[in-house]
């Protein structure tokens, strides 16, 4: 049928029937430089419309270069080039497409690495997408949302226990360079392997201005562990123009919204929004928009607020799907009061602070639980986790106060000493290796063991070994307990007693 349609079109075209010369609006390039094109003409072009720039008459081999209209001035329109702009020259003809910038969306994108225009980059062939959605879409209204109460398990003990994230939440990950922000989100993606397929969220990783080698490494690791089957990678690497950095998060968000609107859960990671703001600053300055604070344009807050508001949990009437956002912001020397970090902090539903001091002390992931916040809180925790993690933040806060005091005091009373020891073991339990996300039931076991004091007499440097061997022992000999916690997501009294007994038994063998 498609072939007949094409043959019919070709006949009409060659015979000149019904497809006679069509008049069309055009423009001419008057200046081009730094990825920005000034166009004269195009009297009816609209803001955010896609246009195509081509030599006239040109050759059939030359493909038109796409550009996005971002400035409408009295005599000219300013457009940002979305492709290879080196071949554009003054006098080239610009044609309207009549449509806004859209990206392909759908299941066909799962397992693929694409650029922000939806062009595949992984060499696995073209993508037959089910649909395409505009990259700029309105956020769901107030009545279309419901409250966040389903956990998104990250597999990181410190997060799931103390700073829980729910499906539909926006949780910022903020810290200096090389501190483990990307490692954190990578483990979150890997942890979704522990979720049953029906409830597993689709993961979208948007790389903005990252090194191509780093993106390749991340994709390789996800593929090796089998996580790529539910992941889409949108890559605007460091060598891509600022225009692609600018549209990348919106393109990824549209891909996530496709699944959200179909009643499924999706997780989107923006790595990172600091570079996204830089790209917008560069484009705005080249478009001669007035610079504001730190030379950012005046709408830099809106740049991120309109993006992050699209992450939501929809009401049952709208399908009940969700889009969870984990934006990443890089700080300079821990300065969280800078312009972009404070903007994004005020938009998101909480933040996870990663600190360099903790990192260099060996506390990895280097999460400062004391100042990290999740505004959703325990609504996004399973009952089992709530039972064992309820006191966690308080215990850690007390430990940190006492630990500072203990540096100066010679003799401590037994109760204070005990609290410090417990706090140290708690900090040790919260350490976790990269690529070792832990399912919920195992986290419950670890936290229960430390809360009940089973680790109080274990030497500090063997705490992690104890934890590792304990979990192996339970998987080998007491799998039913873990299975029960996994299925019920609760820690009933009888299960708790069984677990305590199992830990005691293991401890005796460990001591020998």
């Amino acid at each position: 049928m498609a072939r007949d349609h094409i043959e019919e079109l070709l006949e009409k075209e060659l015979e000149g029937k019904a497809l006679g010369p069509q008049g069309k609006e055009i423009g001419r390039v008057v200046s081009v430089g730094d990825g920005i094109v000034q166009i004269e003409g195009l009297p009816s072009v609209v803001f955010s419309e896609m246009v195509e720039i081509a030599r006239w008459p040109g050759t059939l081999e030359e493909k038109p270069v796409p550009a996005l209209i971002l400035n409408l001035e009295e005599y000219t329109a300013g457009a940002v080039v979305l492709g290879e702009g080196s071949a554009i020259k003054e006098g080239d003809v610009v044609q309207r497409t009549g449509s806004v910038l859209s990206v392909p969306v759908g299941e066909a994108l799962l397992g693929r690495v694409v650029n922000p225009l939806g062009v595949p980059l992984d060499g696995k062939g073209s993508i037959s997408a089910e649909a395409s959605l505009p990259i700029e879409r309105p956020a769901p209204g107030v009545l279309d949302r419901q409250s966040v109460n389903t956990p998104l398990a990250t597999g990181i003990k410190a997060i799931d226990a103390a700073i829980p994230i729910g499906r539909g939440q926006r949780e910022l990950i903020i810290g200096d360079r090389q501190i483990g922000k990307t490692a954190l989100v990578q483990d979150t993606i890997l942890n979704q392997l522990h979720e049953p397929e029906e409830t597993r969220p689709i993961c979208i990783y948007v790389a903005i201005g990252q090194k191509a080698s780093k993106i390749a490494q991340l994709v390789g690791e996800l593929e090796a562990k089998g996580a790529m089957k539910y992941t889409i990678v949108v890559a605007a690497s460091a060598s891509d123009p600022a225009s692609l950095w600018y549209i990348a998060p919106y393109a990824g968000c549209s891909m996530g919204e496709y699944f959200r609107d179909k009643g499924k859960d999706a997780l989107i990671i923006y790595d990172d929004l600091s570079k996204h703001a830089w790209a917008w600053r560069q484009i705005a300055l080249l478009l001669r928009r007035p610079p504001g604070r730190e030379a950012y344009p005046g709408d830099v807050f809106y740049l991120h607020s309109r993006l992050l508001e699209r992450a939501a949990r929809l009401s049952k009437e709208k399908g009940g799907g969700s889009l969870t956002a984990l934006p990443i912001v890089e700080t300079q020397l821990g300065d969280v009061s800078a312009y972009i970090p404070t903007n994004v902090i005020s938009i998101t539903d909480g933040q996870i602070f990663l600190e360099s001091d903790l990192f260099s002390q060996g506390q990895r992931p280097a999460i400062n639980i004391g100042i990290s916040v999740s505004r959703v809180g325990s609504s996004a925790q399973t009952k089992a986790t709530k039972k064992v993690a309820g006191q966690l933040k308080l215990d850690l806060a007390q430990f940190q106060e006492l630990a500072a005091f203990a540096q100066f005091a010679q003799d401590l009373d037994p109760a204070t000493r005990k609290r410090i020891d417990r706090g140290q073991r708690l900090m040790e339990i919260l350490k976790q290796g990269q690529f070792e996300p832990m399912p919920m039931e195992e986290q419950v076991v670890s936290l229960l063991a430390v809360n009940e004091g089973y680790l109080d007499d274990v030497p500090l440097d063997t705490v992690r070994d104890f934890e590792k061997r304990l979990l192996i022992h339970l998987k080998d000999h007491q799998r039913a307990i873990l299975q029960k916690i996994h299925e019920t997501k609760a820690l009933e009294d009888d299960t708790r007693e069984e677990l305590k007994k199992a830990i005691e038994e293991f401890k005796q063998t460990y001591a020998r």
Partner: protein
């Protein structure tokens, strides 16, 4: 092209378009001094470019007829007359790259492409959809 550039270009156009040669030379010299005085001498290149466009348009927008080969004999020029009556100034150009047919550009913002190259590109766009 900024508003300021166009304003300078339009001012220069108004100053010289009905002036004699001697008057025009004086006015141009004073214009250059004005640019220097206002610190806008660096914009001279852009002003001249804008002036050139405005000069071309002063007698009406240009309608450019581009053909694949020169028309032999004395053709009727019916289409050209129609366009001229609409207030356009007709110019003609030959470009073999069109292969055949005719393309008409009305000013800088409208185009009617009936060339063979244009049709082939249209078919190519349909086939790649």
């Amino acid at each position: 092209m900024s508003k300021k550039t166009r304003r300078y270009a339009n001012a220069l156009l108004n100053a010289v378009q009905n002036a004699s040669e001697k008057e025009a030379k004086d006015r141009i010299a004073r214009f250059l001094l004005l640019l220097k005085k206002r610190g806008d001498y660096r914009m001279l290149g852009q002003v001249l470019y804008a002036f050139k466009s405005a000069w071309k348009k002063k007698d009406g927008e240009v309608a450019l007829f581009v053909r694949a080969r020169a028309v032999s004999g004395t053709p009727d020029r019916v289409l050209e007359h129609i366009i001229e009556r609409k207030g356009y100034k007709v110019e003609e150009l030959v470009n073999k790259e069109l292969i055949g047919g005719l393309t008409v550009f009305l000013g800088t913002s409208y185009c009617i492409d009936n060339s063979v190259k244009g049709r082939l590109k249209h078919i190519q766009a349909l086939l790649t959809l």
